[in-house]
């Protein structure tokens, strides 16, 4: 029987990897990812999971190892963060076009300089275009559920793409929450064993990773892009199946108190829980506020997002967890401006905010400030392209 236990989210995520029966786990330690891979080493060492744990000498090697293992037909797992994810970057671009369903958890953390071990989304936003499916978890239960969902979708023969589940470093990875870990039997039924289309096998030799001459490079990139776009159907299907089996329903975009909402916060990741608390407080005061929470980041669910905006919405206050240096706004704001540009007639005004950089707390008051400013800017055009909340000038 599955039961609810109080457990650190990293440990629960590692247990989910165990439940998913990962076969090759390769990782390199980096804060705040370490508890995940430490616990996985434990379960492999104790014989609780029949897997090869390959303790490599760098994150670049971790991804290289997972790639080789996936090409050989094994279910793989790795986890990283920040500088490590950046070091991996070169190889992150490979499994997508090669259609290798590597699964990774990124414990999101800021990027140097200055060096910071604390949470924001700079590390993953740098890797926005790697062509993996990407989801963001809000809480510990979701981290576990999204991890299981990642294997269900990544290895689906119709998808066969790599998958990242993002969990906020420390603010999610290191907190203890009540989490339900599903039964092995149910997980086995939810995630069928990995049957790759093509694998490295002397019985049926295949050449993987050939030179993409100009005559074919464009087609190879578009084939990958189309596969990523098409994966949305299976992603949603995977969540439906998950709800049927485990009783928790997930959607690409979640709405919170959107009825008659006029000013709406848009968030991604664990700050959404605080945002909901803030919304409740502001609603109590009579403010018409709501929340849109992006769970599926890649492929970006544009139609779902447009649909989630109610007819009453006038203003979107989008919170980015990174500065896209030199750009007109953060990556999430840019994405939304782009998809809403063509929304006829009723497109709301979008104001970009940056908050929670390098571990700076995002509190109920932060959200209040953002809503107030968005309401103000709706009446009086802001002077800046976007605003970094809480930054001191002097």
């Amino acid at each position: 029987m599955s039961k609810r236990v109080g457990v650190e989210v990293s440990i629960a995520v590692a247990d989910a990897v165990k439940l998913a029966r990962a076969e090759v786990i390769s990782a390199y330690p980096i804060t705040p990812q370490t508890h995940i891979v430490e616990h996985l080493s434990d379960v492999v060492a104790n014989g609780e999971l029949d897997a090869e744990y390959v303790p490599v000498e760098s994150e670049h090697a971790a991804m290289s190892c997972c790639l080789g293992a996936s090409a050989a037909g094994a279910r793989t797992f790795t986890s990283s963060s920040s500088q490590g994810l950046s070091l991996m970057s070169e190889i992150l671009y490979h499994p997508g076009p090669m259609r290798l369903p590597v699964v990774m958890v990124v414990a999101n953390r800021a990027l140097a300089a200055p060096i910071s071990i604390w949470n924001d989304h700079n590390d993953i936003m740098v890797q926005r275009d790697i062509g993996w499916i990407q989801t963001f978890a809000e809480n510990g239960q979701e981290a576990v559920d999204l991890l299981l969902h990642a294997y269900r979708v990544a290895e689906d023969p119709k998808v066969s793409l790599p998958f990242i589940v993002n969990i906020d470093g420390f603010t999610l990875s290191h907190v203890i929450e009540p989490i339900i870990l599903p039964d092995q039997e149910d997980v086995d039924a939810y995630i069928p064993s990995f049957k790759p289309h093509v694998k490295l096998d002397p019985k049926k030799p295949v050449t993987m990773g050939p030179v993409g001459i100009p005559e074919v490079y464009t087609e190879a990139k578009v084939a990958h892009e189309m596969a990523l776009r098409a994966s949305k159907k299976v992603i949603i299907q995977g969540w439906k199946e998950f709800a049927g089996k485990f009783g928790r329903q997930y959607n690409p975009i979640e709405t919170y108190r959107m009825d008659d909402a006029e000013t709406v916060l848009v968030t991604m990741g664990s700050i959404s829980e605080t945002a909901m608390t803030a919304i409740d407080a502001m609603r109590d005061e009579g403010q018409k506020v709501g929340l849109l929470r992006i769970r599926l980041w890649r492929p970006f669910p544009g139609p779902e997002f447009r649909k989630a905006i109610g007819k009453t919405v006038k203003t979107l206050a989008v919170i980015d967890r990174t500065i896209s240096t030199g750009a007109s706004c953060g990556p999430v704001s840019a994405e939304l401006r782009s998809i809403l540009y063509k929304m006829p007639g009723r497109a709301p005004k979008i104001f970009g905010f940056v908050a929670g950089l390098g571990g700076r707390d995002v509190t109920v008051d932060t959200f209040r400030e953002i809503v107030d400013k968005a309401n103000l800017y709706a009446k009086k055009r802001p002077t800046d392209l976007y605003e970094v909340i809480g930054v001191r000038e002097k």
């Binding site: 090669m98 259609r99 050939p210 001459i213 074919v216 087609e219 190879a220 084939a223």
Partner: protein, 97 residues
């Protein structure tokens, strides 16, 4: 030309851009790179196979009579075989245009 085979659409591109036909490069003729060709003097040949093992283009194979013969579809005319033949049985001759 091999590149003509690559003129395919993204929908017909092999899964993952993987190549599933082993050794398909054999369809590509490298023989037209050649400016000179090896000519064997069977009188001198002792069938030792040096030309075969030292061919970087896998052009040589053994005939029924035991001689080694270079496939002109692949031979790039490098001349290693002639240089390494212990009996001087292979001569490189200019290709006629």
């Amino acid at each position: 030309m091999a590149t003509s085979d690559a003129i395919i659409g993204w929908k017909t591109l092999p899964f993952g851009c993987h190549i599933t036909e082993p050794g398909s490069s054999a369809k590509f003729r490298t023989g037209d790179w050649r400016s000179q060709r090896p000519v064997l003097d069977k009188e001198k040949c002792i069938k030792c196979g040096m030309c075969w093992i030292f061919c970087p283009d896998m052009a040589y194979s053994q005939t029924k009579e035991g001689y080694y013969e270079a496939n002109m579809e692949y031979c790039k005319g490098c001349g290693i075989c002639a240089n390494e033949c212990p009996k001087g049985a292979i001569q490189m001759v200019e290709e006629e245009v």
